[in-house]
């Protein structure tokens, strides 16, 4: 039985807390963070929200309805509670990607940084499934583990003011798929033609505007320009025959 993880809770203003999880095992940290967030959503009032990332959960609340002390007390009382069972395996998302050129203006530079030919970089990116660690800004971007490059990829010195919807980018040891056009300092290596975001959930009450959740995995698949055009605008969805 491993020692319990260490949990540190710090104020983020008077209406939010940052709960940081420390442990030598980053997988355990990540799993703990996401279990904590799920538990906060299930067991605390709906006015309390949880944003889990890699090693921390941002807990936002309305001090009119609850207090930082109460939330802190509850979370501290949980940390020895849960078992270390692996989180439920997520589903696999198929992401066709047009690499390089206008769709991936930083691909050549990334190849230079990691010291591989461009074709090999694409192979590495598509070689394995990428675990979605969290949903990030802007607009529920899928933040995944990065490709198995030998070195981390530095961010752009000057962020781009606009990266298009569907951009697949890397930085550090992470990768991200952006559902909407937005500024970004990450290195854009490709672009998926699929439509990721849907906002027509309307009165149906559906809460997911993207077809993936943390814990799902992404499989990148290289496509050519003609296939890109064929697939343009189709909705992104789970692989059904995998």
């Amino acid at each position: 039985m491993p020692a319990p993880v260490k949990i540190d809770i710090l104020p983020c203003g008077e209406a939010a807390l940052r709960v940081t999880v420390y442990d030598g095992d980053t997988e355990r940290v990540w799993a703990t963070v996401h279990r904590l967030a799920a538990r906060i959503r299930h067991e605390l009032p709906s006015t309390v929200s949880a944003v889990p990332t890699y090693d921390a959960v941002l807990v936002e609340f309305d001090p009119y309805h609850t207090t930082a002390d109460l939330i802190t007390f509850l979370i501290q009382s949980w940390d020895h509670d849960w078992d270390d069972a692996a989180p439920e395996p997520g589903q696999v998302i198929d992401v066709p990607v047009l690499f390089g050129g206008a769709a991936g203006p930083d691909l050549d530079r990334v190849a230079g940084v990691v010291g591989e030919p461009v074709s090999r970089v694409v192979e590495i990116v598509c070689a394995r499934e990428h675990l979605i660690r969290c949903l990030g800004g802007p607009a529920a971007s899928a933040m995944t583990d990065g490709p198995d490059f030998r070195v981390p990829v530095p961010r752009l010195p000057e962020p781009r003011l606009r990266v298009p919807a569907g951009a697949v980018s890397v930085a550090g040891r992470q990768a991200v798929i952006g559902p909407v056009a937005a500024p970004s300092g990450w290195r854009q290596i490709g672009r998926t033609p699929l439509t990721i975001l849907r906002t027509d959930t309307g009165e149906s009450g559906a809460d997911d505007v993207v077809p993936y959740r943390p814990g799902d995995r992404v499989r990148f698949r290289p496509i050519d320009a003609a296939t890109y055009t064929d697939l343009l605008g189709l909705p992104m969805e789970y692989l059904t025959n995998d």
């Binding site: 203003g13 709906s46 990332t53 941002l58 001090p63 800004g137 937005a182 906002t199 809460d207 505007v209």
Partner: protein, 325 residues
């Protein structure tokens, strides 16, 4: 009349249908968004007897000109609001009955930036995750444009104070709410220690509001405290009101439309009340920061919410008394 009441829009710039925000958004990767000056928005809804979550208009920078098809009850709030009906000025921060066909003009003085207009019953607008609040990043929302009428949920007969024979009510809003403070209260952020003594610059310097301000963030020109540690910061959830110090000579204050995660350390966080104040800042204004504590900020916030509760109760009572006469 059976036809649905509408608000005709004769002129509008920088105006949207909104509410207090998409509370379940952050858990699903979306920003909370909603009215940037939450106090003013809550007050407007309270003054017309609406629920706090009802929809209302946020008017930014420029005025609007509206004409209701039916008699309605409305309230205009926000530090800079200058309402007028058929050319006659009326007070803000109080309920105001407008007859069918009258012209309501809401001007914005240079004392602030954002005004709120609530109509008894609220607006009919599409919702996403239970909120009509616009999200510019995902292209969701209902902008208010000239020539496109806004559907209203209810009309309301003229509300008349039995003592004055006109719509004059005092529901206990202090006079001070119309003044925009330029000293913003902040609480040390979770990464404050990474800045060491550099953090003091935040409290000893003056900052100028740049023209780059919107729902996502405010950029402030002035001395930027430098981190004493180096290395990339892992992306984490960042709260609304977070003050970040990216490279360069500007501070970034995150507002309600911010991406929910960021890879910059958080120096300090604006209190909820200071976030409302920040929503009223105009480019060129000079501001400074004042350090406060979680306990003091919580007490100030609770006092304000209780004030809003009292206003809501008095307004609902006045409206109910009218409907039973």
């Amino acid at each position: 009349m059976t036809d649905q009441p509408v608000l005709h829009v004769d002129a509008a710039t920088g105006c949207v249908v909104t509410d207090l925000g998409r509370a379940t958004g952050p858990a699903h990767g979306l920003a909370v968004n909603g009215a940037l000056d939450q106090f003013a928005a809550r007050a407007a809804s309270a003054l017309v007897g609406n629920a706090p979550t009802d929809s209302l208009l946020e008017i930014t920078g420029f005025g609007v000109t509206l004409r209701p098809s039916h008699d309605i009850l409305l309230a205009v709030t926000g530090a800079p609001a200058l309402p007028a009906v058929d050319g006659y000025p009326h007070p803000a921060w109080t309920p105001l009955s407008v007859r069918a066909g009258q012209t309501v003009r809401v001007g914005i003085s240079d004392a602030g930036l954002r005004a709120y207009l609530a109509v008894h019953g609220g607006f009919d607008a599409p919702v996403l995750m239970g909120s009509c609040a616009p999200d510019s990043m995902i292209g969701f929302g209902t902008p208010v444009t000239a020539g496109t009428p806004l559907a209203l949920r209810r009309s309301h007969p003229p509300l008349v104070n039995p003592h004055f024979g006109a719509t004059v009510f005092h529901f206990g809003l202090p006079v001070g709410v119309t003044r925009v403070p330029t000293v913003l209260a902040v609480i040390d952020g979770p990464d404050a220690e990474e800045f060491g003594p550099e953090l003091d610059h935040l409290f000893t310097s003056r900052y100028t509001v740049t023209p780059r301000i919107n729902h996502v963030g405010l950029r402030l020109a002035g001395p930027v405290p430098q981190r004493s540690v180096t290395g990339e910061v892992l992306s984490r959830g960042v709260p609304v009101g977070a003050i970040e110090a990216p490279a360069g000579d500007e501070l970034l204050v995150l507002m309600r439309g911010r991406g929910i995660t960021a890879g910059y350390p958080v120096l300090a966080v604006l209190t909820s009340l200071a976030q409302d104040n920040a929503a009223q800042l105009r480019p060129g204004q000079r501001i400074r920061f004042r350090r406060t504590t979680v306990a003091a900020a919580t007490a100030a916030y609770l006092e304000q919410r209780r004030l809003l509760d009292r206003i809501a109760l008095r307004a609902r009572t006045a409206i109910a008394a009218q409907s039973t006469r």
